[in-house]
């Protein structure tokens, strides 16, 4: 440290509402080559993309210290009050202008939203008022780093203190190798608005103690503690056997922020051993298998539906509001449908409340197939249900359609009779039986619709589809359909 003092970064309280945390450090007398320089930039980009969660959590700024003069101030100001020459530009702009300019920049446009609509934007100054950066968007051109830069000032700002510290640790540990004093990092002091002062980087090494037999037991190997210590050391986790000979002390470097539990160490040991070297054994777990009753019933029904001459389809659970409402003559509010927020296209607006649209769309997409088309699907629909913990539930429906030059109501009715026969539900009003009663619905041709009652409840409807429904789904032939809930038959 040239004049005996470390660099200081002072955080003001204005940052609290937008980007409260900052850490800093210095790499002294570093020697960049083109490769090292490129690698330095690439590391920052990679860190930005993952642990910094696309700069939202942490943003890194690296500066040529010789062009600046500390102490530095990290504050937040009104966009119109911030004016500087940003990286690689030739003139000064205000922050407002920059936000506009970068709207079309393919790289930077993704980060604008982080501060765009806030009243104050973060900004870092040096003691002469030179702007180092406006995190997380762009650094100033003044302190740009080149291959000839000798002293680097690194600052990381963000909304996650832990991650900011980790990121700083990673950068300095990876690049201190190129400093004149190899592997030496110069600390920097950061003063928070409450007056508290910290020194960074933390570079905390910590020691964990893990029992050798734990590692053996979790991986399924039988290595001596010494061998395990060797394996871990090969993974850059310096280890040695201590104590009663069964314990291993492991030094965890600051570059391994991912090690938060012994299981992380177990994985490293297994990787060093080589997964493909581990002996494969079968667990002795003895269990009797059970099928989920609803799926068991579905499997049985599927096969007999095919035997009855109908072909199975598999359609999407997500669709447009129109598909389950307008096209069936209903209002969307009457469907109790689950709505998705910010759907990218109309095809992802709601979860289906009926299987019928999917079947009709399948017919429309397979117009050239010979008639009649007889399709079915046994699958889940979704509706809102406030009695459930999440506020919605699935129902297992069976739906079949008959599409031909004639509507074929008697065929769809016959299919219903067959399904009831398979479910051992006798025809008739008496207990446990089923009966169909004339009904109406906007999706059905008047006078050609019936509601099905079984086991004391309405389980669905069947009928000839209304011509409006047929045309709205871009079909041309008459069609009849059947849709029931099969859960009462469990």
């Amino acid at each position: 440290m040239p004049n005996g003092e470390i660099q200081k970064l002072i955080i003001t309280e204005e940052t609290a509402k937008i980007r409260p945390y900052a850490v800093a450090a210095v790499l002294r007398n570093i020697k960049f080559t083109k490769d090292r320089y490129d690698s330095f930039m690439e590391l920052q980009e990679k860190l930005h993309q993952n642990i910094c969660r696309k700069r939202a959590l942490v943003a890194i700024g690296t500066h040529d210290l010789d062009t600046l003069s500390g102490p530095f101030t990290y504050t937040a100001k009104r966009p119109s009050d911030i004016k500087f020459k940003p990286l690689n530009k030739t003139k000064e702009y205000t922050a407002c202008e920059l936000m506009n300019i970068y709207k079309t920049d393919n790289h930077l446009k993704h980060y604008l939203h982080i501060i765009e609509n806030k009243p104050l934007y973060p900004v870092i100054y040096d003691s002469n008022g030179v702007i180092l950066s406006m995190p997380p968007i762009i650094n100033g051109n003044h302190s740009k780093i080149t291959v000839n830069t000798k002293n680097v000032f690194i600052e990381c700002t963000g909304t996650d203190f832990t991650k900011a510290k980790i990121v700083l640790d990673v950068i300095v540990t990876m690049f201190s190798e190129y400093c004149e004093n190899q592997f030496m990092v110069e600390a920097a002091e950061v003063v928070f608005p409450n007056g508290k002062s910290y020194t960074f980087p933390e570079l905390a090494y910590r020691k964990e103690i893990v029992r050798a037999d734990l590692i053996n037991k979790k991986v399924g190997i039988r290595e001596t503690p010494e061998n395990i210590a060797k394996l871990l050391t090969r993974m850059c986790l310096k280890s040695e056997v201590i104590g009663d000979g069964n314990q291993i002390e492991i030094e965890i470097p600051p570059t391994r922020a991912d090690i938060i539990h012994a299981c992380d160490i177990v994985e490293d040991a297994a990787i060093a051993y080589g997964y493909n070297n581990i002996q494969m054994t079968l667990p002795k777990t003895y269990t009797i298998a059970n099928q989920f009753p609803l799926n068991k019933l579905t499997e049985l029904l599927r096969h007999d539906m095919a035997a009855a001459g109908f072909t199975e389809v598999l359609t999407f659970a997500l669709c447009s509001q129109e598909d389950i409402a307008d096209k069936l003559g209903l209002d969307i509010s009457a469907t109790e449908a689950v709505h998705i927020s910010n759907p990218k296209t109309a095809e992802f607006q709601v979860a289906r409340t009926t299987l019928l649209p999917g079947l009709l769309k399948t017919i429309a997409a397979n117009r050239k197939m010979p008639l009649p088309l007889k399709l079915f699907e046994i699958s889940d629909i979704v509706v809102k249900d406030s009695s459930r913990d999440v506020g919605a539930r699935n129902y297992r429906h069976l739906c079949a359609v008959y599409y031909n030059k004639n509507p074929g109501f008697e065929i769809i009715h016959g299919l219903l009779d067959r399904v009831m026969q398979l479910l051992n539900v006798p025809p008739g009003e008496k207990k446990g039986g089923y009966v169909i009663k004339a009904s109406e619905g906007p999706a059905f041709f008047p006078g050609r619709c019936a509601e099905i009652f079984a086991r004391g409840q309405s389980i669905g409807k069947l009928g000839v589809l209304h011509p409006d429904v047929i045309t709205k789904f871009e079909l041309t032939m008459p069609c009849s359909s059947l849709e029931i809930n099969i859960e009462p038959f469990l």
Partner: protein, 508 residues
């Protein structure tokens, strides 16, 4: 009709023909109506492979009704000319003639006649030349005689403009010899009948031999969907291995069960709107097991259970956010939580195969909805070696015996492994699944005993199905744009059998 005279002649002509013949040409040659030839072609087709007929569309030039009249009588202008005597004809009289009006202007423009307006009793029309060549008449007769090609393009379009000629699309057949060609047409095949059986007359009848090369009549049954046929097989495999099926009949899940309970931090990119479908309505899960939620909160933010934790501020409202589940591991978490509440602990094996939803970029092999297969084993002292062993048994039942394991990363398993198998067809190692041991930070807050390990693995249902059935575009398999012909023709799903020849994918 197949034994009619036209059919017989057709067959004889075909025998002599080199390559084949055109039905319209034949009709012209025989002097019969084209439809008669078409009828003969169709009935011969019905008999089997005697002939091959290819439908062709040909355009021909034909005279209109007016054109035909003109071909008979001559063009209007020629008739006008002929009706003018040496001494001329009064224009008014001329106009009253049938071809008068039309022919007059044409004859004038051809400079065949002239009008003397100054004549005494009204304009008088005189011949200019002595005789004329009725070109139009000549051309029309050429067309009638089938020699339209002798006319130039310009001449044709002139005639067309005068509505004398029109282009007609004729559908003809190009007939060639079939694999069972013969000039003698057999009479209706004699088939065994009940009368023949009871009377015994079958003994005296000749029975023509069957053509065993022809296809039979496919039975008129229904079909099962290929992806679901594969699902049935996977269910069967799990049941054979003693795995119990978990309830997964809930597409809607809370962020808590989908992410937080699995120790996936709230700042994780997968919890972005870009990857996950969040709900507008119902937006939040109102009921959560609060004791458990507190333990999860503490583990995320402060650590515990031997862990450092993630050290961030965990928010309850984030955990309440409802979504369409991104994996069935949320169902596994619910099942393991229920298991943990039962004391004393009993080991369990669970599986599920059900739909999951991802809000990602869509392409030929990715949709927003697909099916995930998941297997879970919870027991004391399970190791990575056990996981590999059970994977080996599982994949052997799929006919996959060569397996390799590679380190991987999942937020909720550690150690994690990607599973690879060698694909004979592609001649390379391909990923067939993902697996690992659930992290203690996930299991211990549930209340599972400390020495219980849970191994788990998962894969998609669509991928092995597409490989098995040779499908390249996932939309032909899943969703309403399914190729129904492929569903009709799909073979049995036999996962451990050798792959058969690639299915021909005829257009639907």
């Amino acid at each position: 009709m197949a034994d009619g005279p036209v059919a017989e002649v057709l067959l004889r002509q075909l025998e002599a023909a080199d390559g084949g013949l055109d039905s319209a040409d034949l009709a012209a040659k025989l002097g019969v109506d084209h439809q008669a030839v078409v009828g003969a072609v169709k009935s011969l087709q019905a008999l089997g492979e005697i002939i091959e007929a290819e439908l062709r569309s040909t355009k021909r030039w034909e005279l209109t009704a007016e054109g035909e009249e003109m071909a008979r009588e001559g063009s209007h202008e020629a008739r006008v000319f002929r009706s003018i005597p040496q001494e001329g004809l009064a224009q008014s009289e001329l106009m009253r003639l049938p071809s008068g009006k039309v022919g007059f202007s044409k004859a004038m423009s051809n400079k065949w006649i002239r009008v003397d307006k100054s004549a005494a009793d009204g304009p008088r029309v005189f011949r200019v030349v002595d005789s004329v060549e009725d070109e139009v008449h000549r051309r029309l007769q050429l067309v009638q005689g089938g020699q339209v090609e002798k006319l130039g393009e310009k001449e044709r379009s002139e005639l067309r403009k005068r509505k004398l000629l029109t282009e007609v699309t004729l559908k003809t057949y190009w007939v060639s010899k079939g694999s069972a060609f013969s000039t003698s047409i057999s009479k209706q095949e004699t088939e065994l009948s009940p009368e023949m059986i009871s009377s015994g007359s079958w003994r005296d009848r000749p029975f023509k031999p069957y053509n065993f090369l022809a296809h039979g009549v496919l039975p008129d049954g229904g079909h099962l969907h290929p992806l679901l046929k594969v699902r049935t097989q996977f269910r069967q495999i799990f049941l054979e291995m003693g795995f119990t099926e978990m309830p997964t009949d809930n597409f809607i899940e809370s962020s808590f069960w989908n992410f937080d309970a699995l120790f996936q931090p709230q700042q994780h990119p997968a919890r972005d709107q870009h990857d996950t479908f969040f709900l507008r309505d119902p937006a939040e899960a109102l009921q959560l097991p609060m004791d458990y939620v507190h333990r999860v909160k503490r583990t995320h933010s402060q650590g515990g259970y031997g862990s450092q934790g993630y050290k961030y501020t965990w928010k309850l409202e984030e955990a309440r956010k409802n979504l369409l589940r991104t994996h069935t591991t949320s169902a596994s978490a619910r099942a393991l939580y229920r298991l943990a509440q039962k004391k004393p602990f009993t080991p369990a094996k669970y599986f599920s195969i059900d739909r999951v939803f991802r809000n990602e970029t869509l392409d030929a092999t990715h949709l927003a909805e697909f099916h995930q297969i998941e297997g879970v084993v919870a027991d004391h002292g399970l190791t990575l070696g056990h996981l590999m062993g059970i994977l080996r048994e599982f994949f052997t039942k799929l006919g996959i015996t060569q397996l390799r394991f590679k380190p991987a990363y999942n937020p909720y398993t550690e150690p994690s492994m990607e599973v690879f198998s060698y694909h004979q067809g592609l001649k390379k190692w391909v990923e067939v699944g993902n697996s690992g041991l659930f992290r203690p930070e996930m299991l211990l807050p549930m209340g599972l005993p400390e020495n219980v390990s849970v191994i788990a693995w998962g894969l998609s249902l669509e991928r092995p199905t597409m490989i098995k059935y040779g499908i390249n575009n996932i939309r032909e398999l899943v969703g309403h744009k399914v190729n129904l012909q492929m569903v009709y023709d799909g073979p049995l799903c036999r996962l451990d059998a050798e792959p058969g020849p690639p299915q021909t994918q005829g257009a639907a």
